[in-house]
């Protein structure tokens, strides 16, 4: 079930109404049923995979807890804990590997042997990638590791834990919640609070704006140009490159925001997953603001265990590359994602290595580092680097990516002003609406960057403004959104990961 579907607009109010009408004790059962229903609307059989991951991590958590409580021998306890967590990791990652990476591995092997003129006949597996498998697997694994690290006690209630893994607002595209943050909330009593409903609704409005008005509108232009890159060369691709950076942000952040809003209306607070990432002044800052739940997951469960920056500069750079390559692979089973991740790793390392050169330049040119102009310049460079890496991310394959990049270097700046851009799927009015909405997004991100909460500002206004916002905004979303008959409500881009 997609958030931007009529089905969800019927499903969610029913869930909400019943949730607040039934006794507190029954609520987690209700949410669990709803969560599985939500997932099974897409593919009923694959719900078994969530159940498998849930059972494995639940039992491993219980086993870890029991081991801690029963064992006196430190060494033995450590060995036992390691064995338990290893079993949980292997089983979960095996499922993830099988469903997400097995065909990629087969293709890579065949290609690699093909280089030496050796033909391998390994059959490919014929199945659909389970939606959200990377998200719930990582969430479940974080729980096992947290219990292993004694950061939390193992959850006793299987139902609560199953709900933690499958909580429908964030089940298929995050944010990847931590057990410390979410499990406690699932136990708490949530009263029907007017303010939660209002705030949740505003979050959902904003999420829908990002997804159906902006991301899906931009995708029309971007898809056209990427599909026919041999026709739309030069500036068409440059524009598509920057627009895709905004599209993927709106798509993913939009989904996360709708998830936050839906959860908020149920009385549960999910973590902020994006914090104005395109206003970052460096690639390192970008990763602190982009997909925060995943970045922090890799930081806590991969980068730091690998030694982080504690084992010398070379090891730090190796660790950065490992994290970014794995992160790329997490996004998808293709070399384009791996290269994209690798490029971000290189950006970070190159940024550090070139720091003395940059400092020298700043000194020689008498640039004030705190000036707005300098910040704007850094922001522009960071955004361009991010957008450029996304060209590879968006491409259909590595060769396709290089073809597109080559096509970019055609001199035709006049297409920016002669109306040619309106021939790439979006009408002139729709194109200008897109630019206006990007302006609104930018204004909102600037507010966020400066810690100004627009939601709170709206809720402080008098009733006329509030009524206008609550009643008019959904109408504008419905009118200006890309949805409905004739429109294949494009899956959220991050569903495939």
């Amino acid at each position: 079930m997609l958030f931007n579907s009529l089905q969800f607009l019927i499903f969610f109010p029913i869930v909400l109404l019943i949730y607040y009408f039934i006794p507190h004790k029954a609520r987690k059962y209700w949410l669990l049923v709803c969560s599985y229903y939500f997932y099974m609307c897409w593919n009923a059989k694959y719900a078994l995979l969530i159940l498998f991951s849930t059972v494995v991590t639940y039992l491993s958590g219980r086993a870890l807890q029991k081991a801690k409580e029963c064992s006196d021998d430190e060494m033995r306890l450590r060995r036992r804990k390691r064995a338990i967590v290893a079993i949980s990791l292997v089983l979960n990652l095996a499922v993830l590997f099988f469903f997400k990476y097995s065909n990629f591995a087969v293709d890579t092997l065949v290609s690699a042997f093909g280089l030496f003129h050796v033909t391998l006949n390994i059959p490919r597996f014929d199945f659909v990638l389970p939606v959200g498998i990377s998200f719930y697997t990582f969430q479940a694994l974080s729980y096992t590791i947290d219990v292993y690290r004694d950061e939390i006690r193992a959850e006793k209630s299987f139902v609560t834990y199953a709900l933690f893994v499958s909580f429908f607002p964030q089940l298929v595209a995050g944010p990847i919640e931590r057990s410390k943050q979410l499990l406690g909330q699932l136990h708490a009593v949530h009263k029907l609070e007017y303010d939660n409903l209002r705030e949740g609704l505003l979050l959902m409005y904003w999420g829908f704006f990002m997804k159906v008005v902006l991301a899906d509108r931009i995708s029309i232009y971007v898809s056209t140009v990427y599909e026919y890159y041999f026709v739309y060369s030069g500036m068409y691709i440059v524009v598509a490159m920057f627009l895709f950076a905004i599209q993927i942000y709106c798509d993913f952040a939009g989904y996360s925001t709708i998830a936050m809003g839906a959860a908020k209306m149920l009385g549960i607070t999910l973590m902020e997953n994006f914090d104005a990432p395109h206003l970052s002044l460096s690639i390192a800052e970008f990763w602190r603001r982009w997909h925060i739940s995943l970045s922090s997951w890799f930081r806590d469960y991969l980068y730091i265990p690998l030694g982080g920056n504690r084992k010398g500069r070379l090891r730090k750079y190796i660790n950065i590359m490992i994290v970014f390559l794995v992160s790329g692979l997490w996004h998808g089973a293709d070399f384009t994602y791996v290269i994209w991740g690798g490029l971000h790793g290189i950006y970070q390392i190159a940024g550090e290595l070139l720091k003395p050169v940059r400092d020298l330049g700043v000194r020689l040119l008498h640039i004030n580092r705190d000036s707005e102009g300098h910040k704007l310049f850094k922001m522009g460079v960071t955004f361009t680097l991010v957008a450029f890496a996304l060209v590879i991310f968006r491409s259909a394959g590595v060769r396709n990516a290089f073809d597109i990049i080559r096509s970019m270097f055609v001199f035709n700046p006049w297409v920016l002003v002669d109306g040619s851009l309106y021939a790439c799927g979006l009408s002139q009015k729709s194109f200008w609406l897109m630019l206006l909405c990007i302006g609104i997004l930018l204004a909102s991100d600037i507010c966020k960057y400066h810690h100004i909460c627009i939601r709170k500002l709206i809720l402080k206004q008098d009733c006329y403004i509030r009524w206008a916002v609550f009643a008019l905004v959904p109408i504008l979303l419905l009118v200006f959104g890309i949805w409905g008959e004739g429109y294949d409500a494009g899956s959220f881009i991050y569903f495939q990961f």
Binding site: L6, Y194, S430, A471, L478, V479, G484, E485
Partner: protein
């Protein structure tokens, strides 16, 4: 409590805005075409069902004006028989007609719905939600709930029409054509050799396998049976259009066979030669105003002669229909004003106007050798043999043609009528005309070509 009250106000405001946006953004064709059918308080005696040939070819207001027949045209563009069946079933929930006229084009088709979804919206957008509508959509679009949803709430389809909103979208005005859509273009279907031209892009109809009863035929049968069960007279028609369509002979046979089987009347317009292929078509398939007026006239006579309709012209409950005739006339003249040349001339036929037509050089005018022009004049009752040399002025009305003294009526500046000179520059081909209406005193149309 105050907070929750605020939420209720907000929700009501949202609902009101949504209703407003739904109306504003929807295409208004369906509203303009069928709104009056659903809001008509009195019964309607004759209902017409069929595809665009019927929609463009039968004028209910002309039937009322000339025969007092109260009728409504519910034909829809490219409507195959199954769609017609459900449009009829729905219409019969609202009215109890004496007679249903079904045009049998597409009776050999296997389609359930028109190829273009917008064509189906023309009939379904204003159809109120009802059990019949639900059954109709389930039957016509059995496997696509998403597609069906756009017919229950057309906002699903039209929400992104904001890009093409115009003044007409803010208007509640409806057409007084009572479901008909007049076409004011003109095409001569006869070539220089005197044969019918062949259409270049004739519509293809997906028929059934030989020997099988087509889906269209099955639903036509259901339409007849439904009417019979409700004691409604049925007349099957096959309206005139381009004879080169490959399927028309099969469909006429289907019509005649079913008419015989169910003992209902049928009219094959392809045979009876009511229309003139030189002057009466808007394109290769559809009648223009002149052709439609001829067909409508024939139908009016037929319905009255066979007591299939009642003259309601003196019935006080239909007083509003009389008032509508003035609006209808204005609409038709407004349509006509947008056309020129032969297309305009073709609309003068039974147009309830009087036209002063000036032909420069009279019988020596080159146009007097043009077969189409002569056919248009003949339709208007002109005897071209009476046109002499020198400039000629004719007064054309629905009833008669007067050959006037050009010296009194023609001047360099324009045409002089009752002492008033209606200024009009001479046209390239030497034709000038001024059209007036007794019913609409403010109406003056001047044309030259």
């Amino acid at each position: 409590m105050k907070k929750w009250l605020s939420a209720v106000v907000c929700f009501l405001l949202f609902a009101a805005l949504l209703v407003g946006a739904t109306f504003l953004l929807q295409r208004k064709e369906s509203y303009r075409k069928t709104h009056e059918f659903y809001t008509e308080k009195e019964n309607i005696d004759v209902l017409f069902f069929g595809a665009s040939h019927g929609m463009n070819g039968i004028y209910p207001m002309q039937l009322f004006e000339d025969y007092g027949i109260v009728s409504y045209n519910l034909c829809g563009p490219a409507h195959p028989m199954p769609t017609n069946y459900w449009v009829m079933r729905n219409a019969l929930d609202y009215k109890k007609p004496q007679t249903v006229v079904i045009d049998c084009v597409f009776s050999s088709s296997s389609q359930l719905v028109p190829e273009k979804v917008s064509h189906m919206h023309r009939s379904f957008d204003t159809m109120p939600f009802s059990k019949t509508k639900v059954l109709a959509l389930k039957d016509l679009i059995p496997d696509d709930a998403k597609k069906r949803s756009a017919f229950y709430w057309n906002f699903v389809m039209y929400h992104n029409r904001w890009e093409e909103l115009g003044a007409q979208d803010f208007s509640f005005a409806t057409s007084k054509e009572k479901g008909a859509i007049s076409l004011d273009d003109h095409v001569d279907l006869i070539d220089q050799a005197g044969s019918l031209r062949e259409a270049e892009d004739g519509e293809t109809v997906q028929g059934s396998d030989a020997g099988e009863e087509s889906v269209g035929q099955q639903y036509l049968r259901r339409m007849i049976e439904e009417c019979k069960a409700r004691n409604i007279n049925v007349v099957l028609t096959y309206l005139p259009f381009d004879m080169y369509e490959p399927f028309f002979e099969d469909e006429i046979k289907v019509m005649e066979d079913l008419a015989e089987e169910y003992d209902v009347r049928c009219i094959n317009f392809m045979e009876i030669g009511v229309v003139d292929y030189r002057t009466d078509f808007s394109d290769f398939e559809h009648l223009n105003v002149q052709g439609a007026r001829k067909v409508t006239d024939y139908l009016g006579q037929y319905l009255m002669a066979h007591q299939l309709a009642t003259d309601q012209s003196q019935n006080g409950v239909y007083a509003a229909w009389k008032e509508d005739t003035i609006e209808y006339r204005r609409e038709m003249l407004a349509h006509a004003s947008t056309t020129d040349g032969f297309a305009y001339l073709s609309q003068l036929y039974k147009g309830h106007v009087k036209t002063y037509l000036e032909i420069e050089n009279g019988c020596d005018n080159k146009l007097m050798k043009d077969e189409t022009f002569l056919a248009l004049l003949t339709n208007l009752g002109v005897d071209s043999s009476k046109i002499g040399k020198g400039t000629q002025v004719l007064l054309l009305t629905d009833e008669s043609v007067q050959y006037l003294d050009a010296a009194m009526y023609s001047s360099e500046a324009g045409i002089i009528i009752d002492g008033t000179c209606y200024e009009c520059e001479k046209g390239e081909k030497g034709i000038r005309l001024v059209t007036l209406s007794d019913e609409l005193p403010d109406y003056v149309e001047k044309k030259a070509f």
